[in-house]
C-alpha cells in the first residue's frame, strides 16, 4: 500500500467531478438535441477510472468501452474536444466521425472506446505485446464490464495475456447490470474476479466507488506488469446512477440497491477522503469552480465548432 498524499486525493476529486459534470452536461445537451445516438453515462462509476488511471504514467495505455467518457477524461482528453465529438463536430477527437462510442486519441494513449462489448480486449493484448517486444515498461489498462465477462473475447484475451505474461491490467467495472440483465443471471459465481484463477493470474474484488482504494489496489498489479510478471484482474464493484443510456429510464434497477449506491457515491467517498486527509473547503471550492468553468467552456466550444466538411467527406469516400 502506498500512502496517498492529500494532493493526489484532491487531484482525484477534480477528475471524478470533471467526469460527473461532463456527463451531466452531455445529458443536458442530449435533451436539447445537440447530441444524438447512443450516450452511456459513467455517472456513479467515476471512482474506477479516476483511481485506476491516477495510478498510471502518461506513457501507459488504456483501452476503453462503450461507457468510456470517464476513462477518456481521466486519461487526459480535453472535455471540450470530447464534447465536440459528442456533438459530431469537426473539432472533436474523431472529427465527428466516431462519436461517443469511438473516442480515441494517440495524444493521451487512449486506444479507444468501443461499440462492441469486449471488442477492445484483444487490442489491449496487442498493445501490451508490442510493449513487451520493444522491451518497454509501459502498461495497458483494459477496462471491461460485467457483461463482457460472458463473452468469448474476454476469455481469449485474459488467457492470451496470461500465457504470454503481457503487461495488461484488466479493470472490470462490475456495475451489476448489462442493460436490464443483472449479472447474477449471467454468472453463477459470487465474484467475477474468481475467474482469474482459471487463467493463472491474480484477481481481486474491491469497492470501485472508493477511488483511493482503487488507486492503491493498482499498485501491485502495476509492479507485476512493469516487472514482466504478467497481467492481473481487478474487479471494481459499482452501480449506475441511472439507465443504461440516456434514453433508458432504468426503472428495472432495484430501488434499495440504487439508494445504497447513490449514498455510496464516489464523490461523497472522495469528499470524506479529502476531509480525512485534511484538505480544506477552500481548496475544494476552487476545484468546483474550475470544473464549472471548464464545462461551460466545453459546451461553448462544442456549440461554436463547425460541422465536418461534407465536401471533404465525399472526397474521402469517392468510389
Amino acid at each position: 500500500m502506498t500512502s496517498v498524499t492529500p494532493e493526489t486525493v484532491l487531484a482525484m476529486y477534480e477528475t471524478a467531478l470533471t467526469i460527473r459534470r461532463f456527463e451531466q452536461r452531455a445529458i443536458e445537451q442530449y435533451r436539447v438535441g445537440n447530441i444524438r445516438g447512443y450516450l452511456h453515462p459513467y455517472l456513479g462509476e467515476e471512482g474506477i477510472a479516476t483511481g485506476s488511471i491516477a495510478a498510471l504514467e502518461p506513457s501507459d495505455y488504456i483501452v476503453s468501452t462503450h461507457r468510456g467518457h470517464g476513462h477518456a477524461i481521466a486519461k487526459g482528453h480535453e472535455p471540450r474536444r470530447m464534447m465536440a465529438e459528442l456533438f459530431g463536430k469537426e473539432t472533436g477527437y474523431c472529427h465527428g466521425r466516431g462519436g461517443s462510442m469511438h473516442v480515441a486519441s494517440r495524444s493521451v494513449r487512449n486506444l479507444g472506446a468501443n461499440g462492441i462489448v469486449a471488442g477492445g480486449l484483444g487490442i489491449a493484448d496487442g498493445a501490451a505485446l508490442s510493449i513487451k517486444q520493444r522491451g518497454g515498461s509501459e502498461v495497458v489498462v483494459a477496462f471491461c464490464s460485467d457483461g463482457s465477462s460472458a463473452n468469448g473475447m474476454w476469455h481469449e484475451s485474459l488467457n492470451l495475456a496470461a500465457i504470454w505474461d503481457l503487461p495488461v491490467i484488466f479493470v472490470l467495472e462490475n456495475n451489476q447490470y448489462a442493460v436490464s440483465t443483472p449479472i447474477r443471471d449471467s454468472a453463477r459465481i459470487e465474484h467475477l474476479s474468481d475467474r482469474a484463477a482459471g487463467y493463472g493470474m491474480p484477481g481481486v474484488t474491491v469497492d470501485g466507488n472508493d477511488a483511493v482504494l482503487v488507486y492503491e489496489t493498482m499498485q501491485e498489479p502495476l509492479r507485476r506488469a512493469r516487472a514482466g510478471e504478467g497481467p492481473s484482474l481487478i474487479e471494481c464493484m459499482t452501480f449506475r446512477h441511472g439507465g443504461h443510456h440516456v434514453n433508458d429510464p432504468g426503472t428495472y434497477l432495484p430501488a434499495d440497491q440504487l439508494a445504497y449506491w447513490k449514498g455510496h457515491d464516489p464523490l461523497i467517498v472522495l469528499r470524506d477522503r479529502l476531509a480525512a486527509s485534511g484538505v480544506g473547503e477552500a481548496a475544494i471550492a476552487e476545484v468546483d469552480e474550475r470544473v464549472e468553468r471548464v464545462m461551460d467552456e466545453a459546451v461553448e466550444f462544442a456549440t461554436a465548432s463547425p460541422n465536418p466538411s461534407l465536401e471533404e467527406f465525399l472526397a474521402e469516400v469517392a468510389s
Binding site: R97, F313, S319
Partner: protein
C-alpha cells in the same frame, strides 16, 4: 399496425401454434427488446420460451443451432446485424452447412432476427447493411421485409421453414405503419412484390430502401416518369423472374440499396439481368448504393453515406433520359 407490432404478432401466433417455437436474445424478456418487438411475450409464454441471454453472441446462436437440430424452432434475436459477426462461424460454418454435411438428414429450422441500417447516428459499428455477407452463403435464406404486412407474413414463413433464415429488419421501419390483414396469412419466402406498377423503368429495392424508392417514384410520376417499383422482400432465394419480367417490359433497370455498392446484392442483380435480359435492356443498369465508407456518426455525413430519395430520383432520371439502344 406498426412494423414492430406485426413482428410481435407473428411471434405470438407462431408460439401459440407450435410449442417448439421459442425466442432467445439479449434483453428480450422483461425489457421486451431494444426495439420492443418481443414486448409481452415473457408474460404470456414464460421464461422457458422467452429467454434473456448474456452477451455471448456466438454461444447463443450456437444454442439456437443445437435446439433447432433436435426439433425446436428457435427465433434468436441479434440486437444488431453488426454483432452477428461475433457468431460468423456459428451462422456460416454450422447453421448453413449442417444439412448438407449431414447428407441431408439434419435440418436447422432456425430463424435469426436482426436489424441493420443507418439513420440514428449510431456510427460505424451499429449502422451497417451486411445482407450481402449472408446472401453469398449456400444454405442460408435471407429475408428483408419493408412493410408490416410483409414483416408478419414473412416472419411466420421463416419460422415454419426447415432451413436457417437470416431475417433482417431495419431501424427506420419499426415505427412505420401499414395495413395488416386480420386473418392468419403467410407470405412465402422467395416472392418479390411489385409495390408500384410502371412502364418506363424498373426500380428494384428491398427493406427500407423500398420506402425511399416509392417516394422517389411519386416525385418522378409528377414529371411524367412512370416507375415500376419492385420490393424483393426475400433476397435469397431471390425472385429474379419478377425482375426480369419487369425489365423485359421497361427496358431499363435501376437498383437502390443502402449497403455499400462494392460487392453488394445489387451487383448480383445487375449481373443476372444483364446476362438474362440482355436484349431487352435499352440502357445501362444503374446501381444506387451506399458509399465506400464506414458509417459516420455525424448526422449530415451519415445521410450522405447512403442513398436518399433525391439520389434515387436523380438516378432514375439519368437512366430514363439515357439515349435508348434499340
Amino acid at each position: 399496425m406498426k412494423y414492430r407490432e406485426a413482428l410481435r404478432a407473428a411471434l405470438d401466433e407462431e408460439m401459440d401454434r407450435d410449442p417448439a417455437v421459442f425466442v432467445v436474445g439479449e434483453g428480450i424478456g422483461e425489457r421486451g427488446g431494444s426495439y420492443k418487438v418481443t414486448e409481452g411475450l415473457l408474460a404470456k409464454f414464460g421464461p422457458n420460451r422467452v429467454i434473456d441471454t448474456p452477451l455471448s453472441e456466438a454461444g447463443f446462436v450456437g444454442l439456437g443451432v443445437g435446439a433447432a437440430i433436435v426439433g425446436q424452432r428457435p427465433v434468436v434475436e441479434m440486437l444488431f446485424i453488426d454483432f452477428l459477426l461475433l457468431a460468423g462461424d456459428q451462422v456460416i460454418n454450422q447453421a448453413a452447412k449442417y444439412r448438407f454435411m449431414s447428407g441431408g438428414e439434419g435440418r436447422v429450422p432456425l430463424v435469426i432476427r436482426t436489424q441493420g441500417g443507418t439513420g440514428n447516428s449510431l456510427a460505424g459499428q451499429h449502422s451497417q447493411s451486411l445482407e450481402a455477407l449472408y446472401y453469398h452463403i449456400p444454405g442460408l435464406k435471407v429475408v428483408m421485409p419493408s412493410t408490416p404486412k410483409d414483416a408478419k407474413g414473412l416472419l411466420k414463413s421463416a419460422i415454419r421453414d426447415d432451413d436457417p433464415v437470416i431475417f433482417i429488419e431495419h431501424k427506420q421501419l419499426y415505427m412505420t405503419d401499414g395495413e395488416v390483414p386480420e386473418e392468419d396469412y403467410l407470405i412465402p419466402l422467395g416472392e418479390a412484390e411489385v409495390k408500384r406498377a410502371g412502364s418506363d423503368v424498373t426500380l428494384v429495392a428491398w427493406s427500407h430502401m423500398t420506402l425511399k424508392s416509392l417516394q422517389a417514384a411519386e416525385e418522378l410520376a409528377a414529371e411524367g416518369v412512370n416507375v415500376e417499383v419492385i420490393d424483393l422482400r426475400t433476397i435469397s432465394p431471390m425472385d429474379i423472374g419478377c425482375v426480369l419480367d419487369s425489365v423485359r417490359r421497361t427496358g431499363r433497370l435501376v437498383i437502390a440499396q443502402e449497403a455499400v455498392k462494392r460487392g453488394g446484392v445489387g451487383s448480383d442483380i445487375a449481373a443476372m439481368v444483364a446476362e438474362q435480359a440482355w436484349d431487352s435492356l435499352r440502357a445501362p443498369i444503374l446501381r444506387i448504393a451506399g458509399k465506400n465508407t464506414v458509417i459516420p456518426f455525424n448526422l449530415a455525413l451519415e445521410k450522405a453515406a447512403v442513398p436518399q430519395v433525391a439520389d434515387i430520383v436523380a438516378g432514375v432520371r439519368s437512366v430514363v433520359g439515357a439515349p435508348a439502344r434499340t
